[in-house]
């Protein structure tokens, strides 16, 4: 089936199944006051905004803070539209209503080529596809913090909610003062009229609650005072004095602690257990067998007086494990199998332009290369943990989660109660990176709590359990081939890759009701390959989806994290093969991609591309679009005792309208370091079904002494905001590999990079 035909029929089927086929307008995301927590003296005006008696505003915060600065950025949108200082916005956790779902994340999962999304006139397929998926996503209302989508998703509904609230407050004041609303000014949350009348929002909140405003207008960007200005993050002070509350910091009266012992081999089962020694240890209350739920492993939780007591006791459990169906998994064998599938299987065609076969047949020569990227673990600094209490038919969960609704659903399923009997408290997240889009650890904590007679219990994974029971970034391989003419021009680009699809596995685990029997093509597998921006006349990009049996999940920047390495390293190969400067070669093929070209040039200019470097240093460049944003990086590297030492990374980014430039810079720095750890050290090996790395000594990270200085340059833009948390990661590995090629003459086609 052709890509486009498939896409339309799949979308049609999904739309029909889930929402029914209707022409009703997409559901409003303004919400109702009842969606917010009722608090004494405060008045909610819609599902997002509650006016406090003191005239400040409480915002329903629907997204999880995991370091990306989203709690500050979203509060800035509200402060801007309501003419309040950022310090007057406080947060409460949003409820579970559909308005808090993430529409943008689902819309961006459509496999459209970014060039189809440029310009004012989008093809009908794009319009139709986005409309259907947007409608479905609004109905489903799945709340997820991921896909670098939070600002893009909230950009319109949150400003609308704030502007609507402001308008009803203003019109209430106008009615009370008997003046025209247009004559009232608002400054720092204080309304005033030339007649001398003045008052703050809190004084008009009750009157505004029943009022539907007649005029709601978003501010023009020329009036913005907060959006686009660097703001201090509101969560930072609490993160300098130990008071920020992470999942692991939840403390409840009478709370017990629990530690895990999971089957060491993936998918392993329990043959027999002897817990006598464990139960005899001091401070231990009980051993709870754990059933695999939502992707969790079989094993045990040991419950007792402190995490330390239970960690010791979990180690002392005598368990005979049996291998399950994944017992033979071996990463070397998987690599060989993926490579052989590149030639034995046809794959799904994500992009086809021109006639690649013909171009290759007529080529003077073919440039060809094969690339590989390993499995990776997330290694959030805060290990997986969850606190739960099951009492009187009610379930309460405290979780550092990116998906509170999915956490609630799995808790209800495990406890056997209706979903409205479950309350989920979202804590601060000590890193997410996609690992906390999973709810395995929530399912486990509820199982443990059910065995604890109504007492709350906090289950904390050891670092070893965390590293060996992750949902790994899948291994991928790719074959890339370019046809070069006698004149030395690249005529075609063919890319075929193979690896496991993530989305269908994730849905099976966390959204089983929406999970189908057949895997639909998963954009995340080919993103960053099929949608590269260069204008080669003939292109063919396909992907072979596999199911190797290793649990796979979303890892910061997902498919882009490996595919940018494949594509941008190969582009660099083509430049060198055709004796062109890597910057000039890229620029020449970006004539129809002006935004990409501008970003590329900005990074190159600021890095003084082409200028002399100290002896022993070299530069590499890479350009990559992901999550709607374009990032170029220039990496400067030398070899230190035979190992790559990155000195500086110059980043340029076009992420549309910027809310908080400080956060953009932070996220570039963050993505560079995250990408550098992966590029230099990251690999998860599996032998006989067991993950070989288990803690930081065997799964090392870049530390301060190896950290490059990262400089960020932002392209001014009036486009809608796009992603920031992930797009800085993909270009790092290829830019570094390309720099190492200049330094050593050796092209590296496998991650992690070697010296």
């Amino acid at each position: 089936m052709k890509r486009r035909t498939w896409l339309l029929s799949a979308l049609g089927a999904t739309g029909t199944l889930i929402v029914g086929w209707g022409v009703l307008p997409a559901r409003s995301r303004l919400g109702t006051p009842a969606m917010m927590l009722p608090t004494q003296g405060d008045v909610a005006l819609n599902g997002w905004i509650k006016v406090r008696a003191d005239g400040g505003v409480t915002l329903a915060m629907h997204r999880s803070e995991m370091g990306q600065g989203i709690h500050t950025a979203l509060a800035m949108l509200v402060a801007e539209e309501m003419d309040l200082p950022l310090s007057r916005i406080s947060l409460e956790q949003a409820g579970m209503d559909a308005i808090y779902g993430n529409v943008a994340m689902f819309v961006s999962s459509l496999p459209f080529h970014p060039m189809d999304l440029e310009g004012d006139k989008q093809p009908l397929l794009v319009q139709t596809g986005e409309w259907i998926v947007g409608k479905v996503a609004r109905e489903l209302g799945i709340n997820a913090t991921g896909g670098s989508s939070s600002v893009a998703d909230a950009w319109s509904p949150l400003r609308q909610a704030a502007a609507t609230a402001r308008a009803s407050l203003l019109e209430s004041a106008a009615a009370q003062w008997q003046v025209a609303a247009s004559e009232i000014k608002v400054k720092a949350g204080v309304l005033s009229h030339a007649s001398g009348k003045t008052g703050h929002y809190g004084e008009f909140a009750k009157a505004a609650a029943g009022r539907t405003p007649t005029v709601v207008a978003l501010k023009d960007r020329s009036q913005w005072t907060l959006i686009g200005q660097p703001a201090l993050r509101t969560d930072v002070p609490s993160k300098t004095n130990g008071t920020a509350g992470f999942g692991i910091d939840v403390r409840l009266p009478g709370m017990l602690f629990a530690s895990l012992r999971q089957a060491p081999m993936l998918g392993g089962t329990v043959q027999s257990v002897d817990d006598k020694a464990t139960l005899a240890m001091p401070g231990i209350e009980r051993v709870v067998p754990l059933t695999p739920v939502a992707g969790s492993s079989a094993g045990f939780a040991v419950v007792g007086k402190t995490t330390w007591h239970t960690q010791q006791a979990a180690r002392a459990l005598q368990v005979q494990w049996a291998q399950g169906s994944q017992g033979a998994l071996d990463t070397e064998r998987i690599k060989a199998e993926l490579t052989s599938k590149l030639s034995s299987e046809k794959g799904f065609v994500f992009h086809d332009r021109g006639a690649v076969d013909k171009a290759e047949a007529g080529a003077a020569r073919l440039v060809e290369a094969q690339y590989h990227a390993p499995y990776l673990a997330h290694a959030t600094m805060e290990p997986m943990n969850c606190t739960a209490q099951v009492k009187g038919g009610q379930v309460e969960v405290w979780a550092p989660t990116q998906v509170p609704g999915m956490a609630r659903a799995v808790a209800a399923k495990v406890a056997g109660v209706d979903i409205d009997k479950v309350t989920v408290h979202v804590t601060q997240l000590g890193g997410g990176f996609g690992r906390r889009l999973e709810v395995d650890y929530v399912a486990q904590a509820v199982q443990v709590a059910m065995a604890c007679a109504g007492k709350p219990v906090q289950l904390t994974w050891s670092r070893e359990e965390d590293t060996t029971h992750d949902f790994y970034r899948p291994m991928h391989v790719a074959q890339l081939r370019a046809a070069v003419t006698a004149q030395g021009t690249v005529d075609s680009l063919r890319i075929k890759s193979a690896g496991d699809a993530i989305t269908p596995r994730w849905m099976e685990r966390g959204l089983p009701a929406l999970s189908g029997p057949v895997d639909m093509p998963d954009k995340t597998a080919s993103e960053g390959l099929f949608d590269q921006p260069y204008g080669f006349g003939h292109q063919h990009m396909s992907h072979v989806t596999t199911k190797m049996g290793v649990p796979v999940g979303f890892w910061r920047s997902v498919g882009h994290s490996h595919n940018a390495f494949f594509s941008e390293s190969f582009i660099d190969e083509l430049a060198h093969e055709t004796q062109q400067d890597p910057l000039a070669f890229r620029a020449a093929w970006l004539a129809k991609a002006p935004r990409h070209l501008a970003v590329l040039k900005l990074a190159a200019d600021k890095a003084q591309w082409g200028s002399a470097l100290p002896a022993g240093q070299a530069r590499g460049i890479a350009l990559h679009e992901s999550f709607g944003s374009i990032v170029a990086q220039v990496v400067e590297v030398s070899l230190h005792n035979g190992a790559p030492r990155v000195h500086r990374v110059v980043c340029a980014i076009d992420c549309g309208t910027v809310i908080n430039p400080n956060t953009v810079a932070q996220q570039m720095e963050s993505s560079v370091i995250f990408g550098l750890s992966a590029a230099l050290y990251g690999r998860i090996d599996i032998k006989a079904g067991e993950v070989q790395q288990n803690n930081f000594p065997s799964y090392p990270m870049v530390q301060l002494a190896q950290a490059p200085f990262v400089q960020t340059w932002i392209v001014p833009s009036t486009r809608a905001p796009s992603g920031v948390g992930e797009p800085g990661l993909p270009p790092l590995a290829p830019a570094l590999g390309n720099a190492l090629f200049v330094l050593t003459g050796k092209r590296q086609r496998s991650l992690p990079l070697q010296a």
Partner: protein, 158 residues
Amino acid sequence: MELNINGKSINTDADPNMPLLWLLRDELNMTGTKFGCGVAACGACTVHIDNQAVRSCVMPVASLAGKKILTIESLGENDKPHALQAAWIAEQVPQCGYCQSGMLMAATALLARKPKPSDADIDEAMTNICRCGTYQRVRAAIHRAAGTATTASTGLAA
């Protein structure tokens, strides 16, 4: 046994083999000190013992009698922050924030020892792992607090 934590004398009947980290977190409810790896590899659990930065996840309580223990909770208050905390805020160091208690305790120990640290001193002393990659701002904040800042700090250039 009796322990001196943040200037207070604390009596505990904790298992002498229990690492200080878990006494702090699970028995005293002082949760500012974090658990990251359990093998002294990441530094999230860093505290001061007699003014030295120490990884509390491998430090048995029994070894601490008569010693002065300081945790992140002793560093400063919101309205009266330590110079390093103020620098951390000015440089906007934390992202997820989980490793930052340990970072700050390592940095305060460094400055107590070397009030004007060089970059090489910072490289050597600051071996804590941060998955959000806040390293260049950690460096900048230490320089700021020490009054040794020389270069642009955060890298936000446009």
